[in-house]
Amino acid sequence: MSPAMQPIATCPEPRIAVEQLCVDYNGEVALYDASLTLPAGCICGLVGMNGAGKSTLFKALTGFVRPSHGRIRINGLSVLAAQQQQAVAYVPQSEGIDCQFPVSVWDVVMMGRYGSMNLLRIPRPSDRVAVRDALQRVDLLDLARRPIGALSGGQRKRAFLARAIAQRASVLLLDEPFNGVDVRTETLMAQLFLQFRSEGRTILISTHDLSHVSDFCDLVVLINRTVLAYGNTSEVFTPENLARTFGGMVPKR
């Protein structure tokens, strides 16, 4: 069986457990008393306004900011330990990436394997197989040799998803995955998310597009400086909760 197709390691602990998390930047509070628990194999939407703390939560989950209070456990491990086991993959917004960078699609997906390689990061045959499989799953194998600058926005998004697949992460953090994406990519991504869920991966999707949340998120987390509500989408996604999340201004669904 090729590495990319092997099942994701099961774990009795929740995939993500955040307890009373507080983050502040030089005394300015970005997130306080945020708690949530996500089980293995679920798709969870993270909904909030700009500046509500979505990206702060992501930064805390990727170890970029240190919580001033509270703790985070991923698969029962500390963030650093989970990262060293390649458990966490972050799929960036396309805008956050320099798309003139001189790397090919293949190179980008291979970066998903770096964590399991030796210091010199010389790909082994198994790494090449993992990259090939990941590219196949996102339907980009034909474009593997293209520079990433030559891809469309949707194709680039798929390349970064392939990197997460090649990494074999059990927790995927996606930042606005549906921004500027073509219909083909959107359909393919939705299918992939369902596959990921059945493979036991947990997907946290930061978004302000509410229609996507009600379409395929099992769980939803509403955030505004803290976790206002979280749980099954059908129960949490109420007009009252949304009004609290968006400060009385409910965007159109």
Binding site: T62, V88, Y90, S104, Y114
Partner: protein, 279 residues
Amino acid sequence: MTWLLDPLTHAFMVRALLVSALVGGVCGLLSCYMTLKGWALMGDAVSHAVMPGVVVAYALGLPFSLGAFVFGVGSVAAIGFVKQKSRIKEDTVIGLVFTGFFALGLVLVSKVRSNIDLTHILFGNVLGISSSDLQQTLLITALVVVLLLVFRRDLLLFCFDPTHARSIGINTGLLHYLLLSVLSLTAVAGLQTVGVILVVAMLVTPGATAYLLTDRFDRMTVLAVASSVLSSVIGVYVSYWSDSSTAGCIVLVQTGLFLLAFLLAPRYGILNAHRSQAS
């Protein structure tokens, strides 16, 4: 052939060619990361900030590279500290800190009793390199090349997507300081060839030239190193035959190569870009 061989009869010319080619190669390699990371201004800052370190080291009889290294890294730490603790924007902080360090260097040179020639620091002195300086340069360049080759994939990832690097457990703080240390060391080496003022050209131009010529990182490093070594060698020859500033000649040749790429590069040159737009 005399124009090629005649300079080689002088020992100082052979040494100058070797040193400038070596330093050129290392700067070319590093320049790829500088241009991709957007650290050109940082390179300028560090190369100016090492100056007081060189003076202090000479005055204390220490290797000049040690003093330069301490001040180079110190300036970056100072930049980071001021930026974090105040509301001032980063480019302002960089401009403020490196000129402060540089001014300190100028004052020290004029007050500290030593046999340092200010113009040698400012504009380089590759024709008069001593053998102890040569040894230090060899050591520095060897160290920098080894570090850049061992960490080349990690540094590439660090430039491209530090968030991903971090999320797969790579210590990005360490990579940040590794790149800064390498920058300080290389600035010291480059300082000997072209001096404080033009070092930034060595740290930026070859990378920029190569970046216009390819979309593959491995090819970019090869092209940057090749163009940088070539510029150094041609520059030293031109300076010998025209009896003009060596540093100026080396950097002028680099700039010339950049202009060629800017005009003629297959995909990103402006002439070809116009043609593809027209068709």
